[in-house]
Every structure is written in C-alpha cells, then in structure tokens.
C-alpha cells in the first residue's frame, strides 16, 4: 500500500492551501488598506502568486486522487482474493475440521498414519486403528487424542467404549 506517499502528498496539499490562504488574507488586508504595497502592485503580485499556488494545489490533488485510486484497486483485489480463498476453502480457516490431503500433509508423520487409518474406518476404536497401523493400542489412543485436540477428530462415547470419528468438513 502506498500510504506514505499519500500522506506526503496530502501534507503538500495542506501547505499549498496554507500559502493560498495567506495570500487571501494579504489581499483582504489590501482591501482594508493596511498593506504597504500599492493596490495595483498587490493585485498583480497576489493574483500571479495565487494562480501559481492553485496550479500546484491542482497537481498535488491529482496525485492524491491517483494514489487513492491505486489503494482502492489494491483493496478490492485483496478482498476478492480473500472471498475466493474462503469459497475454495484454501485459506487456513477452510482447512480446519474435516480431512483433506492438505490437512494430511500438514500433520506430522505419526499422526498422519493414525489419521489415514481412522479415515479408512470412518469411525473406530483405538484398538481398531492399532490393528491397521500395527502400533500399540495405547500409542494410538494417545495419537487419536492429539488429533481430537487439533480438531480433526471427534470422540464419541458409546456405553463404556470410546469411538473416534473423523470430523466432517468445515
């Protein structure tokens, strides 16, 4: 974002406007006959100065407009990108919950193995997952609980047994 150039240009506009106002006061003072310069001299000098300040103000204001347009365009593009990402589910938020290749790739190796095994079962106990992975039930139980904490798996209690299930999509 071109915030700094925009602020600098705004400052220039204000300085020019200040100078312009000083000139107006000068002309006003002339009218009240407090100026030491002759009326004709003041009129010519003041008007040429005012014209100069006006043209610089115009240039600066045009610069401000261009910069603001650029900022607006960039903002619009950013917003569009965010909306697309949310619709596609490619943003970080879209990946939480539910299993996907992206989620699997993000997981460390030991949890990925557990997650793939559980996905095959859709819903299962730690010992069933252990049967697929070939690791001990207690280890799988620990890994499944880690996946629960990460939000990829949910726990379901049935009578005295605990089942784990893959969280449905975000």
């Amino acid at each position: 974002m071109k915030r700094r150039p925009l602020i600098a240009t705004h400052r220039k506009v204000f300085i020019t406007m200040g100078r312009y106002l000083c000139l107006v006061i000068e002309v006003f003072d002339t009218k009240t006959e407090r100026s030491l310069m002759s009326k004709t001299e003041i009129d010519t000098n003041a008007l040429s100065k005012m014209e100069k300040e006006f043209s610089s103000m115009r240039i600066y204001l045009e610069q401000v407009l261009t910069l603001q347009k650029e900022i607006l365009e960039k903002l619009a593009k950013e917003t569009e990108k965010r909306i697309d990402e949310e619709e596609d589910g490619s943003s970080e938020g879209g990946l939480s919950g539910g299993i996907s290749v992206a989620v699997l790739l993000k997981l460390p190796d030991h949890l990925r193995k557990t997650m793939i095994a559980l996905s095959k079962l859709i819903e299962g106990r730690a010992d069933e997952v252990a049967n697929i992975t070939g690791r001990a039930r207690a280890i799988e139980s620990g890994y499944l609980n880690q996946l629960v904490r990460l939000g990829y798996v949910k726990k379901v209690r049935r009578k005295h047994q605990i089942y784990f299930a893959v969280e449905s999509g975000a």
């Binding site: 619709e87 596609d88 589910g89 490619s90 879209g94 990946l95 539910g98 299993i99 996907s100 290749v101 992206a102 989620v103 699997l104 790739l105 190796d109 990925r112 193995k113 793939i116 996905s119 095959k120 079962l121 859709i122 893959v166 449905s168 999509g169």
Partner: protein, 258 residues
C-alpha cells in the same frame, strides 16, 4: 476383506485405463467380485469400453454426496460373457460435466476425500467387493491424490520415456513416501520389450528399482496387436494365451500379495 487398488501415473497416455479394464477382467475371470471405478473425471474412458445404455447416474453425483455409490454401479458381467462378476461406476462424460469438474473449487476436492473414504467403506464392507480398481486422472491433482490416499495399494503406471521416469520418481518421493503408500510400479509400452533376453530385462528392472526405490512389478512390452484391438473388445478375454495377458496375470497375482 477386499482391497482398493488405485491406478495412477505422472503423465497421461501411459495406459492406466487400458490396464485397469484388463486387470479388472482378469480378477473377475478368477472368480472375484470386482468393481471398476472411473475417477478420471477430466477424460472419462470406461464408457467407450462398456458402452452403457441409458445411464442416468454417475460417480460425479456420488462425490457430490447426492447419491450412494451402490446406486450408480452398473453390472457389466455380460461383457465378460458372464464368466465373472464385474460392476462398473462411470464418470459423467458429457462436455458440461467435464467442464464443471475442471472448475470445481478446492473446497469440493477436500470434501471429496471424505466421500471417497465413505465410498470405499460401502464397496468393501457393505457390498463385499473383493477388488475395487480405481482409474484416476494423471498428474498431481487433488482428486487423483484423494483416490491414491484412500487406496490400499497404488499402482503407478509409467512408460520408459525419460520425462515420465523423472516425473514419476519425483512424484513417488514427494507424495507417495509422505503417505507411506504401498506402491507398485508397472512399466507399460516398453518398446522392444517382447524381444528382450531376460538378462536385459532384469537390468532395466534393476535400474528402475534403484531409481524408484519401489517395487517394479511388471514391464509390459509394446504389442502392436494390443493397440490394434478396439477398446470395447477386452483384450485379455479375447486373447487369453497372449503374452500380454500372461504378464497381466502375473501383475494381478503380485498385487494380490500386497
């Protein structure tokens, strides 16, 4: 418990669809209950082989979550002269459907993995298929990776083209190894392969084994008669004693061991 086998490749035109159809035929002729799924939504092929009539339901809808896979399978056993049980799930081959699949967002593809897992469970646990063969799109795409991830064994089909070998090696290293997938490699369309003396063949297999660090379970030579036959005429059914059929039988047996 049945097995889901996904056929994948790095490049297109390696013969995945041809191999999947013929492998499915071999398994069905062995008396197994076989299901063949066309998950190559961008270039569906199985409709050319099985010529389904009045098909209203496609695998696209299964992955959309609107219907169950059971509802869109077609019994194509008559194509095998009823010598085996073969069910086929087709991808929608209309231009609109292909265009729609190309424009699907990532979110849809993410949800598709969960649906592929559900489909797998339904086919293997409920419908008791012995073998489910999945034909996928080539390259590294979400949908193909989904099928590979959900499979028990992934068969990577490659040709002897340098670009294919290089890409396949990279894909195996960066993708298959990450998912610790049971992987088998089949080299297809090996030019001059039929005339090879065994020591030569062994050297090629050895080189490829070293390169891929995975099991090369077969090298299929480039047979002109294979290319000459129409897709609709299942080669292994028409030519049961042909070397190509024999080699495919060996590949099928090796896949059984995984």
């Amino acid at each position: 418990m049945g097995k889901l086998i996904a056929l994948h490749s790095y490049k297109g035109g390696t013969g995945k669809s041809y191999l999947s159809v013929n492998l499915a035929t071999i398994y069905a002729l062995q008396g197994k209950k076989v299901c063949l799924l066309d998950l190559d939504f961008r270039a569906p092929t199985l409709q050319v082989v099985f010529e389904p009539k009045g098909l209203k339901c496609f695998l696209n809808s299964v992955l959309e979550g609107t219907i169950s896979v059971r509802d869109c399978l077609l019994d194509c056993s008559d194509k095998l002269e009823n010598k085996g049980k073969l069910y086929v799930g087709f991808a929608d081959f209309s231009t609109e459907a292909i265009r729609e699949m190309v424009t699907k967002g990532k979110k849809w593809e993410i949800e598709a993995l969960q649906r592929i897992y559900k489909m797998r469970k339904e086919l293997l646990d409920d419908m008791k298929f012995d073998i489910v063969l999945v034909d996928t799109s080539p390259g590294i795409q979400y949908l193909s990776i989904n099928a590979v991830v959900a499979s028990d064994v992934a068969v990577v089909v490659s040709t002897l083209d340098d670009a294919d070998i290089m890409g396949t090696s990279k894909m195996l290293k960066e993708l298959y190894e990450t998912f610790e997938k049971e992987t088998a490699i089949v080299i297809n369309k090996a030019i001059g392969g039929a005339e090879w003396a065994d020591p030569d063949k062994n050297k090629v297999v050895e080189d490829l084994q070293n390169k891929y660090k995975e099991a090369v379970i077969g090298i299929l030579p480039c047979f002109c008669e294979v290319g000459r036959l129409k897709r609709g005429d299942l080669f292994v059914l028409q030519n049961p004693k042909h070397p190509f059929t024999e080699m495919l039988r060996v590949i099928a047996a090796k896949l059984d061991l995984f």
